[in-house]
């Protein structure tokens, strides 16, 4: 009971406190002469938020950058040793290679599936459209760890000849094959893990792309039909170019998410069998091993890799806003 009250108090003080703050700042600027008031007001309102962002995002980022040049306990300068580790350590190289594979496959397939469902569902009657879309979207509500547990059971392997508890192997053994160790076989395990992510993100892609598709002006489609275009031509030549910016935004959002993936790998294979990813190495370096220098260098690397995609994302966003 005491905890519930504490939570409510925290919420009340948080919300109320911020309101009081802005009210006071507003009153403060109103007391100033007119010109000063006009100049200062924007900064006064943006100020607190900037301060928080600066304190909780910028300062730690700079500290991390600094730590990437220090040793394990962040005490002494080691120059570029950690950066050397980044490119020479075999586990890191496997991780970087795998991440590359992930960022090529997962956004592309998620967008493809999302697009396919959006287009096809668009042609159904409203009730079926809603049902099918909800089904595809449902997995988004599941946490990464929950999804990994579910799929862990789907991929489960038991010795040949013994009852299979994993549905894939149960079907496969039923059809007369030898159970496949999906998570261990290096040929398929990366894709088995990627599929979980796709399963989770396709719904997100579908929702945004569906809205974009519905925004395509009906006249352009009719004009194309009058000109004798087939449905597939209409899709590729009329619809897709008009929703291109949404596709890019969705793709880059999923891509940034993929760069951070670690829960799926951590839960299912712990990075073994060649499935290691960068964020999982970070967790190991930071918490299991306690080498803060290397953990910092991994974070710096992730930030650097993410920046280009964020820039693309924001540019597209701005372009869309400008068009309104």
């Amino acid at each position: 009971m005491g905890q519930l009250v504490s939570v409510l108090i925290a919420i009340a003080l948080g919300v109320g406190g911020v309101m009081v703050l802005f009210w006071l700042l507003n009153r403060g600027t109103e007391l100033l002469p007119e010109t000063w008031e006009q100049r200062l007001k924007p900064y006064v309102f943006v100020g607190p938020a900037l301060l928080v962002v600066g304190l909780f995002l910028l300062v730690p980022a700079l500290l991390t950058l600094r730590n990437s040049f220090l040793d394990a306990r962040s005490e002494s300068f080691v120059g570029a040793d950690n950066y050397q580790f980044l490119v020479t350590d075999p586990a890191m190289r496997t991780a970087i290679w795998n991440n590359l594979l992930w960022i090529i496959v997962v956004p592309a397939v998620s967008v493809a599936i999302g697009l396919a469902v959006a287009v096809l569902a668009d042609k159904l009657k409203p009730r079926w459209e809603n049902t099918s879309k909800s089904l595809i979207f449902l997995p988004m509500a599941i946490s990464f760890v929950g999804a990994s547990t579910i799929w862990g059971f789907v991929y489960a392997w038991r010795a040949p000849g013994t009852p299979q508890i994993g549905i894939l192997n149960a079907i496969w053994q039923g059809l007369g094959g030898q159970p496949i160790a999906w998570l261990q076989s290096t040929a398929v395990n990366d894709f088995a893990l990627m599929f979980i992510m796709i399963w989770l993100q396709a719904g997100f892609a579908m929702v945004l792309l569906s809205a974009a598709i519905k925004n395509v002006p009906e006249e352009t489609l009719e004009a194309a039909r009058i000109d004798g275009a087939k449905e597939s031509q209409i899709f590729w030549r009329v619809v897709l170019p008009q929703i291109k910016s949404t596709v890019v935004v969705v793709g880059t959002t999923i891509l940034i998410l993929v760069l951070k993936v670690f829960d799926i790998v951590y839960v299912m294979t712990n990075g073994n069998y060649g499935t290691e990813v960068i964020a999982n190495r970070f967790i190991k370096e930071m918490f299991t091993i306690g080498h803060f220098g290397r953990a910092a260098v991994i974070v710096v690397f992730l930030i650097l890799v993410t920046i280009p995609f964020m820039v693309v994302n924001i540019r597209r966003f701005r372009a869309e806003e400008a068009m309104r």
Partner: protein
């Protein structure tokens, strides 16, 4: 006018918050330490953080805690954390450490030893402990000449589990030496040609700790092949993984583990089967396997009775006679200058504390005390283990727990798993583990 409305709402919120704060905190109960108010001067509070999982194990610990609280009138706030390794480091380095913590690895304690209180400073009589405990219990938690932790709970590992009556009925005998074990393996393999049946049940899957079962095997083999001195050199990296001695141990493991006829499910089975489920084939009517090597806790996974459906024997050494003992355990350490903490630690290591803890019905560990009566253990199996442990030729703590974290909980596990999955050979495996050893260490 609009400001009026907002002001009123704001004022209301603030007043409500203040009222709630005043009333809410008053009714807060005490911590989850159980009843206080016994005899003794007491009144102190000590916080305990641990990562022990399993209902029975936690209940056993609680029994010792309750005994302490009753006897001294102090209160203990017990906190169990499933991610103990992460939580304890974060808390210790974040300046919010627990008073007392139970570390499952000496390496982890060494890492935070700068922020730990030496036991002598915490009021613990280390000299007396040296006399009362089995040799090695205090040394395990001694770093740079200072005692930071003491083994308070022992998990004995060098055990061979067999399929009980069904094992003897089939004409097999408990092996006296390691070579006998290998010929027995071969014999059983010939008797069990069907798929799904083999001499050994082995499973090492363990989420982010997959690999520890394999390292346990290798450590047991190291002790048996080379003895305690070479083992210690190996732990301190005075001999490399890629040396003749260590390679020989890996090759012994290879003989059993990589032979598809010796293990249920082969190497894939080893990698994919969770360690706690590994003995399932032995629980079948007609046993799917006859041998399993694992620490004492595995008894809970067997069905039936000790002696009938399953049995336990010491894992044999290279010659007949008392074999070496590999063990792991939890070390108790102190992080603050809370005077009650030292009292608590001493109690946990005392005869009554140990009796309450290890003697609890359902507990599965051995006591580090040399004078612990094996009959006090709650099960026949533990009594047997206690006797084996006490009579062992020599005992050593799990090597991978003593090595630096990037080896013991990362590279050693990871490379052995890669070796087992067939993606690299033994040479590469040993070299990779060596390369993961942090430089600037003790060489």
């Amino acid at each position: 006018m609009r400001t009026h409305v907002w002001t009123t709402r704001l004022a209301f919120l603030v007043v409500a918050a203040m009222l709630a704060a005043a009333c809410g905190n008053g009714g807060n109960g005490e911590g989850n330490g159980g009843g206080a108010g016994g005899d003794g001067e007491g009144g102190g509070t000590v916080s305990l953080l641990h990562g022990i999982s399993g209902e029975e194990e936690q209940a056993a610990l609680q029994q010792a805690v309750d005994a302490f609280q009753e006897q001294t009138g102090n209160t203990v706030e017990v906190e169990a954390s499933p991610n103990f390794e992460t939580v304890v480091v974060t808390r210790v380095q974040g300046g919010n450490p627990p008073d007392v913590a139970l570390y499952p690895q000496p390496g982890l304690l060494e890492r935070v030893s700068q922020d730990a209180t030496p036991l002598s400073e915490a009021g613990v009589d280390v000299g007396a402990l040296n006399d009362q405990l089995v040799p090695g219990m205090v040394e395990t938690g001694t770093f740079d000449g200072t005692e930071y932790g003491v083994v308070v709970k022992v998990g004995f590992k060098s055990l061979l589990w067999t399929a009980g009556q069904r094992f003897t009925d089939a004409g097999y005998e408990v092996p006296e030496t390691w070579d006998d074990l290998k010929s027995l393996t071969d014999q059983i393999a010939q008797d069990t040609p069907e798929p799904g049946r083999a001499p050994w049940c082995i499973g090492i899957e363990s989420a982010d700790a997959t690999g520890w079962v394999a390292t346990d095997w290798i450590e047991d083999i190291m002790l048996r092949l080379h003895g305690p001195d070479v083992y210690d050199q190996w732990v301190n990296h005075e001999i490399q993984f890629n040396s003749d001695e260590v390679r020989a141990a890996f090759e012994e493991l290879e003989e059993i583990w990589f032979n598809e006829e010796y293990v249920v499910g082969g190497t894939t089975g080893i990698l994919q089967t969770p360690f706690a489920d590994a003995v399932q084939p032995m629980n079948q009517e007609e046993p799917g396997c006859f041998l399993h090597r694992q620490a004492g806790f595995i008894e809970g996974s067997f069905e039936g009775e000790l002696g009938t459906e399953y049995d336990v024997a010491p894992l044999p050494g290279t010659e007949s006679g008392p074999p070496p003992a590999l063990f792991a355990g939890d070390l108790v350490a102190v992080h603050t200058d809370n005077p009650t903490a030292g009292e608590f630690v001493e109690f946990l290591l005392s005869a009554e504390g140990q009796e309450a803890w290890m003697g609890h019905e359902g507990a599965g560990s051995l006591s580090p005390r040399a004078d612990f009566n094996p009959e006090s253990y709650p099960s026949e199996a533990l009594t047997r283990q206690g006797e084996i442990f006490a009579n062992a030729e020599f005992a050593r703590f799990d090597a991978s727990d003593q090595m630096p974290a990037q080896v013991g909980t990362d590279a050693f596990w990871r490379e052995v798993v890669a070796w087992l999955s067939g993606s690299q050979d033994l040479d590469a495996t040993l070299t990779n583990i060596d390369n993961a050893w942090p430089e600037g260490g003790e060489e």
